[in-house]
């Protein structure tokens, strides 16, 4: 495991450097520079010259999402976030499109929290966003609901709520 050791270092005038060596002996170094750009270097084992890519913060976040394994599907999106400092807490956020079957029912009627443990944190209706909908909020067909929870709770939501 020692190969995974992550080194971080403050370089005066430059910024912060993070570096680690993979099990296979390749080296990855990331620099958050004072200029606001992020430079990523990779050095293959046995090579002398690294190759570099310079990214804006937005591009770096996109790369980060890909590396953490976020699934980006065309229709329904799901993002899993892992907090490694909090005992590897994993939270999944999933979008669901409301079918005809549950249109007109409220969050309370469906007993979402009691049945699945997941929470509806936002609903997108006709390009308008409703954040933290109240229990009395009634769904309409075609609403996009943003549901947050553990991946098991999300699966339960898909099985038990979406089929009603």
């Amino acid at each position: 495991m020692s190969a995974m050791a992550l080194r971080s270092l403050n370089l005066p005038g430059v910024g912060t450097k993070y570096e680690f060596e993979t099990d296979k002996g390749d080296t990855v170094a990331i620099f958050f520079t004072r200029t606001g750009t992020i430079q990523m270097y990779t050095l293959q084992k046995g090579c002398k010259t690294p190759s570099a890519a310079e990214m804006t913060p937005v591009e770096a976040r996109r790369l980060g999402n890909i590396l953490t394994g976020a699934i980006i599907e065309a229709e329904q999106e799901s993002v899993e976030i892992a907090f490694s400092a909090l005992a590897d807490l994993r939270v999944t956020i999933h979008t669901f499109y409301i079918p005809k079957g549950i249109a007109g029912k409220t969050i309370e009627d469906l007993q979402i929290r009691a049945k699945t443990g997941a929470t509806v944190i936002a609903v997108c209706r006709h390009d308008r966003n409703i954040i933290n909908p109240a229990p009395s909020f009634a769904f309409e067909e075609g609403d996009a609901a943003l549901v947050i929870g553990e991946s098991d709770q999300i699966k339960k939501f898909e099985r038990e709520i979406m089929v009603e």
Binding site: L9, G13, K17, T33, Y41, A52
Partner: protein, 380 residues
């Protein structure tokens, strides 16, 4: 005043061009100053206003230097850094000082040229490392720390030069007292300072500006060097929230430092009696001495001449600190020499730092080819 506006406008155009070409802007600012000023067309004169602006530029440069001095996070391998720093100090300052002295400069002026010859431009060197994507190289980390080492040496030299022939004990007592007051304010007033810096209105930026200028004028009033005190102020405030101070001081530094470079060029006078021969020798030596010190550092620290070549290629540029020394302590002749030194080394340095990887590759493949050609004979 019109001259001042012309200079400002020319700088803006030059800044755009230099960013487009990705080369350092400092030599262009100085050249613009020379062309517009005394030595050239004579359109722009140095006035009281321009002197005031230049002075602010210098003060903010030094304030920034103080802010970056976080000695507590000094490095994992101090012995390596000390070796590399000392090699640079002895070799570069030695060559610069000796050459200037032999070329007929008086002792103190030769010492100033030697120091300007030794101190590289942190701004140019570090920007080049980032832009040329060299941060991961092992040499890059050492170069960054060498820059910090040079800053420390510069502070000591400024203290020595400004002490001059004053009553030394009294002088250093006054400095110690001023340092004590500043650190006490930073320590006991930390919460108050941070609360000012956190505000969204004009107070943080006004406070930063006032703190630097007040410190400078108080220092002059009490007969201690304002340059030293502004560096110390930066170092003291770095114990509170250095990022916020950097953010609020940056606009002042950026604008006024450009004025400082241009008006340094404006005051250059070729009639001050310096011959091209002297300038030529010192400029060539400035590039060669960094090759010698770079090679020695590369061989001692990394055991590799190629590393030495890389260190050389990235540490040729002299800049803001050399000019500051010329403005603060140099005679007009020394000013001209240092102007030439900065222009030549920054242009050479911009080229070598960009193409050093090619140079290294060229040398490696050449020696490999030679080794292949020679092997049959040696095996026989």
């Amino acid at each position: 005043m019109e001259g001042f506006i012309i200079a400002l406008f020319v700088c803006l155009v030059l800044a755009l061009i230099s960013k487009y070409l990705a080369v350092p802007a400092i030599p262009f600012y100085i050249l613009a100053g020379i062309v517009l000023g005394k030595a050239g067309l004579g359109i722009v004169q140095s006035t009281e206003i321009s002197q005031f602006f230049s002075e602010i530029g210098l003060l903010f440069l030094l304030f920034f230097m103080g802010l970056e001095l976080k000695l507590d996070r000094m490095i994992a391998e101090p012995s390596k850094l000390l070796t590399a720093g000392l090699i640079g100090l002895v070799v570069d300052m030695g060559i610069g000082f000796t050459a200037a002295y032999l070329l007929g400069f008086p002792l103190i002026q030769a010492f100033i040229i030697g120091t300007a010859f030794y101190i590289t431009s942190s701004a140019i060197v570090i920007t080049a490392l980032i832009e040329n994507r060299k941060l991961m190289m092992k040499e890059a980390e050492l170069i960054i720390w060498i820059e910090v080492f040079e800053d420390l040496v510069l502070i000591v030299i400024i203290a020595l030069l400004s002490a001059g022939d004053k009553d030394l004990l009294f002088f250093f007592l006054k400095i110690a007292l001023a340092l004590g007051i500043m650190y006490a304010i930073a320590h006991y007033g930390k919460e108050f300072l941070v609360s000012i810096l956190d505000r969204d209105d004009e107070t943080p930026i006004l406070f930063t500006f006032a703190a630097v200028l007040t410190t400078a004028s108080m220092a002059i009033m009490f007969g201690i060097p304002d340059t030293m005190m502004v560096i110390a102020l930066g170092a003291a405030l770095a114990t509170t929230d250095p990022e916020a101070f950097e953010q609020h001081a940056r606009p002042f530094k950026d604008v006024f430092l450009v004025m400082f470079f241009v008006f340094f060029g404006v005051t250059i006078d070729f009639a001050s009696g310096v011959d091209l021969y002297t300038i030529g020798i010192l400029c060539i030596l400035a590039v060669v001495s960094k090759l010698i010190s770079g090679m020695l550092i590369g061989l001692t620290i990394f055991g590799s001449a190629l590393s030495g070549l890389e260190i050389w290629a990235n540490t040729i540029s002299r800049g803001e600190f050399s000019i500051a020394l010329a403005v603060l302590y140099g005679s007009p002749v020394v000013g001209t020499v240092i102007a030439a030194l900065v222009i030549v080394t920054t242009l050479v340095g911009a080229f070598t730092s960009k193409y050093s990887t090619w140079m290294r590759r060229g040398i490696v493949s050449h020696s490999r080819r030679r080794a292949l050609v020679h092997r049959p004979h040696t095996n026989r």
